[in-house]
């Protein structure tokens, strides 16, 4: 059953809250946030540190559960899924990239990219082809046998993107993907993301605090502050799209 009435929304958040208790104090990391992300959109979540943008991304990734509200994807409400179903959702529907790349250092690039395929129990015969395709997307075929420590930061992030793409996810979640990179490399990575969005047609949700970059590459910007949604704006790219 498609939970999205229009059939063109990748994910919709309805009054989502995530509260933590620290001793006697309740911290409202995300507080009553609602918005929708259409299929194929590049959305940037902006805000200062502690504004709740990464918590929101983790909720959409199914790594965390909302205290209240619902997160609707094409097939399910994440708030109601079991932990096994959430794992299945992470495996098949989304891909994630992180600020610190999170590649496993003892594995080669090829093995790192193969990891989601192993978790999804993809046949061995298919794996090498799909790994090669993913490496071609990020233009790192020639480094497949290398270990992450032998690569530059930008290259490592490209490998992380390849790993996120290898299971052909519908949504790519990027948590500060340029945070550990210099501005030029950061731009290259965002260019690549933009290019992949067009090529593959996936939805991208990116958390960043670099507004100028977000304005240049994203279609829409959502600004958060103290866990609340402050504003939603469309960039020039979004308008053109």
């Amino acid at each position: 059953m498609n939970l999205m009435a229009d059939g063109q929304t990748a994910v919709r958040l309805d009054h989502v809250s995530r509260h933590y208790r620290m001793g006697q104090t309740s911290i409202r990391a995300v507080d009553d946030v609602s918005f929708s992300v259409p299929d194929g959109e590049f959305l940037a979540l902006l805000g200062s540190s502690g504004s709740g943008k990464s918590t929101l991304l983790n909720l959409i990734a199914g790594l965390d559960r909302p205290t209240a509200g619902s997160i609707l994807t094409e097939r399910s409400n994440l708030a109601e899924l079991s932990s096994t179903d959430l794992a299945c959702y992470r495996r098949n529907t989304i891909g994630m990239i992180f600020q610190s790349f999170n590649l496993l250092p003892r594995m080669t690039l090829e093995e790192n990219i193969e990891l989601p395929l192993r978790l999804a129990e993809v046949d061995r015969s298919d794996r090498s082809r799909r790994v090669r395709e993913a490496l071609e997307h990020v233009r790192l075929t020639h480094r497949s046998g290398h270990r992450p420590s032998e690569l530059s930061g930008g290259e490592q992030q490209r490998v992380a993107i390849a790993r996120a793409l290898v299971n052909r996810p519908k949504i790519l979640l990027a948590d500060e993907p340029t945070g550990n990179l210099d501005s030029t490399t950061g731009e290259t990575i965002l260019l690549l993301l933009r290019e992949l969005k067009t090529q593959i047609g996936m939805t991208i949700l990116m958390v960043t605090h670099e507004r100028p970059l977000a304005e240049r590459f994203a279609d829409r910007l959502i600004t958060m502050s103290d866990g609340k949604l402050q504003s939603i704006s469309t960039t020039s790219r979004g308008t053109t799209a």
């Binding site: 794992a87 994630m96 192993r118 129990e121």
Partner: protein, 450 residues
Amino acid sequence: MKTRDLTDLALRNLREAILRNALTTLGVAVGVASLVAMLSLGVGLQQLASKRLTQSGLFDTIFVTPKNSFQGPRRPQREVNVDKPARPLDEEARHELEQLPNVIEVYPQVRFFTEVRFQNKPYATVVAGLPESSRNSGAFDGMQGRFFSSQTAEEAILQIDFAKDLSEKPDSLVGQDLTLRYAEREAIPSSAGSGSAEPAESSGGFSIVPKEMKLKIVGVVETEPAPGYGGVGNARLLMALETASKLRAAQVNDLRDIVRGENANKTTYGSLTVRAKTPSQVEALETSIKSRGFNAFSLLDASKSLRTFFSVFDSLLGIFGSLALAVATLGIVNTLVMAILERRREIGVLKALGAADSDVQQLFFVEAGVMGFLGGAFGVGLGWILGRAITIGTNLYLKRQNLNPIELSYVPWWLMLAGLIFAVVVSLVAGLYPASRAAKLNPVDALRYE
């Protein structure tokens, strides 16, 4: 995740911290080795005892005596068919017992007091006749000299203690002659000279005539192949049963026969030894013999006690052996808990990429299982080597004491398999807590971990 991928990842993880994991695996190996070595000693000792006892024929043997034998007051036995009248243990009875099913042989206990003359000095001792089947009893393994050349040979085998009485160098006795002085029974016809027509069988007694026989010493044995039974002491001089029987030497039961006025010419036996095909048939055979009006006694009960003793002994050895494995188990828990701390972020990444809690749990489980399997396999080998070393060391000591070598430790295939399985099971149990802890890690917290 598929089993192959899971195993592949687990092996890769184990290789990553190779020193720590190798040491943990070594701990398991030492634990299993101690367990296997201890149990191999238990099994070896049990085998040794069983082999000796089985070869000695004690467990497939039933001693048969007449019901009213002169053995003094003793606890009344639980009898089968007590109404049966007491019967003499004669040739007819021997033949009847030979016909019973599952009986290999029936032979009499020929055992009498004698005086041995050797180099003109007298030595008092007890002689026992041994059947041909004693050759393979195991009691003569490693003896000096040889067994009797035939059942009619006029040869003697000396028990080592008696041989030492005869000479300071017992080895030198083999090949020498000794003279046996014994009391031969000679029947006295009751109607002798009276012209009675009564046959000789109904005679009333016998006279004792001293006789001599020259025997060649063919061997010296360290064991006691003819231990005392039925009131007669341990035999120190052994002869072939047939040769001993032909001597018609006066035996203890002769006194009983003469008091009862039984025919002195008719052969009766103090006791008969009945050998069953297997120890399992002894109980039925014993009952059958008792129902025919004889006393029967076997060492079956002693064998049951022996098995109970070894079961308890093995359990104790197993418990002591397991202590080292218990310590090794703690090592596995420690190693895996450390691995969780070190790989916290990695677990977070795996979960972000779609690993279910069960995938993470299984990964740690397989790692524990692999350590258990490798430790178990290595430990079984090490245990076998330890067992061999103990056997070699013991045999070196025995050799110095001029004793025969023994197989002290024995590692049967089931012990190897059990050691391996036990190591894996114990390791998996040890992996339960770390695996469940790793599976429950919150992915968001794990990804934040530096």
